[in-house]
Symmetry: D2
Subunit: 147 residues, 4 copies
C-alpha cells in the first residue's frame, strides 16, 4: 500500500523526534489535523540536520537555507490528543542543488504515516544555488542514493 | 517541471477560493510557511464540495466524512504577507471508496504551487466505506477520470 | 459579565473583518480552538491599520513595527466550522510609545468574544521607540482615549 | 511592570513543560508569533492537570471538560527558533464552577512572559456545571486562593 519505503535503509543515518500531540493540533474529527504532519516532518528534518550535518542556525548565518520545493505524505492511521508520535527522517537522495528527505511516522500502535520532502539550496534572495562541493560530498556519504 | 497538470481540464467543474495571507501564516524566512499550503488545499476542497456536491456539514450529519489519505504539494514560488492567493480545486478521479482532488495555487505573479489530495469515505469509527452508488455516479459526472 | 466595553464608542473609527471558520481551526471539542481568537484579533488590527492609519507593509519598509506586549480575550460563546465570525477593531488608547486596540467578535448568533491587545513601537533590533509626534497626533485623533 | 505575580507562590503545586521552538511557530519578524504563547499555556495547563489532578482524557471520558473563558498574556521578551521555553503553570484560584490558572514563561535568558487563563466546567452540550464537591475540595487544596 505505501508508495515508498517506510523504513530507513540499513546503511543510512537517521534521526528520530518524539512529539506528544497537543490538544491544539486536533480537529473536530477528534484526531490530529492532517496538515500538522507536514510540520512533524520539519521537526525530524531539522533534528537530522542538527545531528548529521549542520544546524539550521548555521545555514541562516551563512545567508542560505534549504527551501521546501515538494511535500508528500501518506496517512495510514489517525493519531489523537496525547499520543506520542515518533518521526524518523533520513536523506533519500542528493544532487547538484537539491536533496530529498524521507520519513516514517509511528505511534505505539505502529506505522501511522510516511512522507518525503524535497529542498533546494537558496540564497537570501531566493535564488537556487549549487550545494558547495565539500558539503555535497559530505551529504552524499549520508544519503541513500546520489543522483 | 510540474509533476501534474496545473490547470483544471476544460470539461471539469472547479471552484476557486481567494485567501489573503495573514501575518501569522508567515515564518522567519519572511514567507508563508509551506505547511499552510496543505490548509489552503482544504479551503478549496471544501468550497468545491459546497459548490458542486454536498456540504461538509451534511456529510458529518450523516456520520461520514472523507478522511485525507494522501497529500502532495509542489512549491514553485513563495508567497508573502498580504498576498492574495487563489486556490482552484477540481476532482481528478473517483473510484469505489476514494477520490482524488487536484489543485493549483496562483497569485497576481502567476502560478506558485500545485497539489493533490486523496480521500477515503469513512464512518465515525474511521472504517472505510464504499461511496454509495448514487453519490458515486454524481461525483463521476464531475470528475476528470473514473478509475 | 464582560470586563470591557464590547462596542466601539460612537466617536471612534473601527474596522471589521469577516472570517469564515476553516475546518483546520477547529479542535477535538468540535469548536474553534481558543488560541485562534488571538489570530483573529490580528486580522482585524491589520485591517484597521490599513483603513485608518498605515499599512503594515509601510511600517516594515521603515524598519519599525508594533510588537505585541499584551493580549487578553474573553470567550462568551463557541464558534464552529463554517461559521462566519465578524471581528471589529478600534483604537482604545495611545500614549508615548504604545497603544491599545480593543475588539469584539460576533457571529449571526450575537457576541461571542471580546478582547484587547497592547503594542509598543519597536525598531528592527526590538528596541522600544517613541511614536513620532506627527503619527502620534494622527493616531490620537482616532483613539477613544489619549493617555 | 508585570500585571501579576510571575512566580508560583511557595505553597502551591506547579508543573513545568519544556518546549523547543519549532521553525513553523516563527513569523516574518523572525520570532515566535505571539498567538503561540496561548498554545504554550495549554501545554503547561494539561501537564498540571495530569500531574496534580486528573488527565484530560479522563475528563472527556466523563463527558465534561474545562472550557476556556478568558486568556491574558504579557510579553516581556521575544523567543526565537530553537530556543527552549519553559512554561510553568499553577492554580491561582477556584470557585464553584470555574478556576484560574497562572503561568510564567522563561528561556535561558530569563522571564519572557506571564499569563493567566480561566475555565468553566461544561458538559458536552457546553452548559456550565458546578465542579463536583469532592473535586472542588481536592483542587482547593492545590490552589493559591479559594474564592
Amino acid at each position: 500500500m505505501p508508495r515508498r519505503p517506510c523504513e530507513p535503509p540499513p546503511d543510512v543515518a537517521s534521526s528520530t523526534v518524539r512529539h506528544r500531540v497537543p490538544f491544539y493540533e486536533t480537529d473536530a474529527m477528534g484526531v490530529v489535523h492532517h496538515s500538522n504532519y507536514v510540520r512533524y516532518l520539519e521537526l525530524a528534518r531539522i533534528r537530522w540536520m542538527n545531528e548529521h550535518h549542520r544546524s539550521y542556525r548555521e545555514y541562516v548565518a551563512t545567508g542560505r537555507h534549504f527551501a521546501t520545493t515538494h511535500v508528500e505524505v501518506d496517512y495510514y492511521h489517525t493519531a489523537a490528543f496525547d499520543d506520542e508520535i515518533r518521526i524518523t527522517a533520513w536523506l533519500d537522495w542528493i544532487r547538484g542543488a537539491s536533496l530529498r528527505m524521507a520519513y516514517r511516522l509511528t505511534t505505539s500502535e505502529g506505522l501511522i504515516g510516511s512522507g518525503a520532502t524535497e529542498h533546494a539550496l537558496v540564497d537570501l534572495s531566493g535564488r537556487v544555488q549549487r550545494i558547495p562541493r565539500e558539503e555535497r560530498e559530505q551529504l552524499a556519504r549520508l544519503a541513500h542514493r546520489v543522483r
